[in-house]
Symmetry: C2
Subunit: 246 residues, 2 copies
Amino acid sequence: MRNIKLTIQYDGTDFKGWQIQPKKRTVQGEIEQALHKIFNQKIRLIGSGRTDTGVHAAGQVANFKAVTQLTLAKIKSAINNNTGEDIAVVTAEEVNESFHSQYSAKTKTYRYWILNDEVMNPFHRQFCLKFPYPLNIAKMKRETRVLIGKHNFKSFQGNNRVNQNQDTVRTIKKITIKKDGSYIQIDITSTGFLYKMVRNIVGTLLSIGTGQIGEGSMKKVLNAKSRGKAPKTAPAHGLTLLKLAY
Amino acid sequence: MRNIKLTIQYDGTDFKGWQIQPKKRTVQGEIEQALHKIFNQKIRLIGSGRTDTGVHAAGQVANFKAVTQLTLAKIKSAINNNTGEDIAVVTAEEVNESFHSQYSAKTKTYRYWILNDEVMNPFHRQFCLKFPYPLNIAKMKRETRVLIGKHNFKSFQGNNRVNQNQDTVRTIKKITIKKDGSYIQIDITSTGFLYKMVRNIVGTLLSIGTGQIGEGSMKKVLNAKSRGKAPKTAPAHGLTLLKLAY
């Protein structure tokens, strides 16, 4: 039994997210369909984690186990030939038996991409949020500091899947905010993310950047440990799962 | 009467090209509809030239004349608010009465974008041609030299609109081929282009790059002055109208 690790890119626009669901087009569903065709049997694909409807990936990782003589190059091209053009397997590697895309992951990095302009660039509109209001980037950067380290991020967890018993403690390793012309990239690296956590942090940062909420707001929201305290969630299409570290 | 010059970007994927056509979604049609709404009368938008179905623009230029008190910023935002997200007016300027987007143009630059890899990047698939076969870039560059200058480009004119009497002489000012990783950009600047001329030159360059046709082929094709001699046309979606010079 070989354990095959895939690095996958996808344009999330036309997918109902990563996770397989009956009668819906999902990334996991589409790749599992390809694996079924290639290996002539049902094969479970283990992703590093779900991404929501409309969220993209530049470096999602998934693995599956199979008994096969196919070379890695053949496996890669066979999957690419049996999935839509909005999915690309960029590498296929053989890893040891114990490798698990989700449990072996040390950190995960998401990027939120913003065009801070009144006019969208038509070539980026599916991957980038148009945000027309002036933003104070220095203030946004300062406010991210309280998020670094091990915290209870309950305030940034999406409502719909809130589970009273779920552990909402995560460790954010790094947050960078880069401005290049009118484009802004917010990169967040963490040991793990709660449901909609990045989009809720970005939503809060945007409210801070416009001055809608004041200096010190990020700390207040974090300490509240309640979703109701955080400003609204940033839209899905600006978010990309950038990379995993193992 | 003011003469307003627009610089326009568009993702050509969902348009039947630039030129207005009944019951078809075209860029000119969509902007003229917006102008009609804004100025409450039919206004003709003059483009620098047509782009075909599926061809994109990063710097198309068009102008229209109107009697209005609206500021340029208002005109720009009003058009953007009344067109799809795949069109963006990036600048609106006032120009003198005699300015004509097509006739005043000195040169036009097109870019053809290629990913020379077996796997497409899902984020670029609508703007870039996937070309999986090895290409000899140095040879391609050498073969472009015979195209520079004033020539009869009849061999590179698309068949469907061939007019025996049309002047097929144009002056190509510059061709650059740049490779960056697996991406290749072919930029062509000319005083004007015949129908499908860029895509036919790129098609020929790709056949030269793979070795399908030999050294000296570009000269042979050019001298033939017959479309039948040139290899097949490169697909529309890799092509972008980059800029106009006046």
